[in-house]
Amino acid sequence: MSLLTTAGLVEIFVRLAQRMKDERDELCRLDGIIGDADHGIAMEQGTAAAAAAVAALPDTATLADQFNAAAKGFLNAVGASSGPLYATAFMSAAKMAGPRGAMPATETPTLIKAMADGIARRGKAVPGQKTMIDAWDPAARMAETFSEQAETSLAAGLAAMVEAAKAGADGTARMVATLGRAARLGDRSLGHPDPGAVSATMMIAVFCEGFAKAENAG
């Protein structure tokens, strides 16, 4: 039975930090059009701090400890809008993962669902408001359908979640923001994707690829 281990999660946070480092300028560019051009920096610094916090934990740390450390690290490095949202997401994932050294890979989609719920709870955004929820929500709903029908393979389920997030993020270009910084632009935000939804898709991809890898390693 393949497991997502604490070692595996450390690896995932390292890859997440690297991915956001590579995407910094593009995310800043997107956030410059409808926001204040700092989203790439927030995600780079946040994920770097999260990865460092997770790596610094003792070997005895559980999956919950890791997600909570990531939450605290991300929040204190960033603030802004993404800080509280991703801190709450990781704390929510910590509760879902529980104080275990490992969890069955097949349960990992519930972590995506937990993160999406945390973001919705903290930010109070609903789909269609041109926020990161428009990527997290489709991925979370796909995660739910996966756990109900056992016959799709984990890998296929995880891939479908990433696709759903991507489609959601692309959809934000056709939305008018009604929440957060871009809400003040009225229809001038049309035609531009929401940077938070784009970075959410990248994060969901790194998590899902990591969860899929855990399956093979198992």
Partner: protein
């Protein structure tokens, strides 16, 4: 595309190096604890029985926010990364250090990030039995229609709104009163800006949006967020008239009333241009029968090196006049007793 010309070291260290410089330059005004490097506390002002006014927000707006920390105004400021709200911990630390047992009033601009972080700080303080209330500034009349005023951004009007609330707290008014004054000051403060260039974050040194030379963005926010309209740059009087039409139209103050005026640089626009704008603002106020009681001209709430300016008018009454005149001695803003 060569990076924007800045005198900095590593862009990622810009805010923390700035704070070291600020504390070195203003030792008699400001201090901080090692445990909370992003919470800057006034050396004079905080005292038992006084409501603690704690302000804060992203860096890059200097002298806003920590320039207004000092006796008679703000008791502490929580500092975030450039254009990013501070996380909950510095905000809670600032309140913990500055409060005198009479409650805390958080005041900051109305942005999603700030609201989430300061609300989390409020939760942390409640766990320690410290009551913290929040008044958001919403003076940017270009950022939402009048009937959705609560969705508006807080921009340069912060200067007058914080000043009124800080004076009320310094006069040892209770939390309910300081909050009432803060809301009233916010409701009677109107700001609109115009940007003539973009600005760059220290980490990327790339203009955060592209405003072609020869154009201006009317109603732009102080983080370079797009405004109402982008069009060819016009003369000073024409720009001031458009802004004053909007402000006077909404403020609708009866002739004979008095106002406070702030002509604020967004960063690189120099005093010469601000005073040329002020001349026209004074003309328009005179024509509307409104008397100027107090004036501030200069870079008070900026967006790093952005070119542009904003005009803020506060519609005064007796109470607000007394509070605006109240003396203060902050790191980057002093006002004597004899206004």
């Amino acid at each position: 595309m060569t990076p924007t010309q800045k005198i900095i070291n590593d862009g990622n260290a810009a805010v923390d190096e700035m704070l070291v410089g600020i504390l070195a330059a203003h030792p008699r005004h400001l201090t901080r604890s090692l445990a909370a490097p992003r919470a800057i506390i006034a050396r004079e002002g905080p005292r038992p029985g006084k409501v603690a006014l704690v302000i804060g927000g992203g860096s890059g707006h200097e002298p806003t926010f920590l320039g207004f920390v000092g006796k008679g105004l703000a008791d502490a400021a929580a500092i975030g990364n450039v254009f990013a709200s501070p996380p909950p911990q510095p905000a809670a630390d600032a309140a913990m250090s500055a409060h005198g047992g009479a409650g805390v009033l958080f005041m900051y601009g109305n942005y999603a990030g700030d609201v989430m972080n300061f609300d989390m700080a409020t939760e942390l303080l409640a766990m320690d039995g410290i009551e913290a209330r929040t008044v958001l500034t919403t003076d940017d009349i270009a950022s939402a229609p009048k009937d959705r005023r609560s969705e508006r951004r807080g921009v340069a009007g912060n200067v007058f709104i914080f000043k009124a609330a800080g004076a009320a707290a310094d006069l040892m008014m209770p939390l309910d009163e300081v909050e009432r004054v803060a809301r009233r000051a916010n409701d009677r403060t109107y700001t609109m800006g115009v940007a003539l260039s973009a600005c760059s974050l220290p980490q990327t040194r790339r203009p955060n949006f592209d405003l072609p030379a020869g154009e201006m963005e009317i109603g732009m926010g102080i983080h370079g967020e797009p405004g109402i309209r982008r069009e060819a740059l016009r003369g000073a009087n024409s720009i001031v008239d458009e802004i004053m039409d909007a402000i006077l139209g909404e403020m609708n103050a009866p002739a004979g009333d008095t106002v406070a005026v702030l002509v604020n640089s967004l960063g690189s626009t120099p005093l010469m241009e601000l005073y040329i704008m002020f001349a026209r603002v004074a003309e328009r106020l005179d024509a509307a029968g409104l008397k100027i009681h107090a004036s501030l001209v200069g870079p008070y709430c900026t967006s790093m090196e952005m070119a542009g300016a904003s005009i803020t008018i506060m519609h005064l009454d007796d109470e607000l006049t007394r509070l605006i005149d109240h003396p203060c001695d902050c790191a980057m803003f002093q006002q004597g007793a004899n206004k």
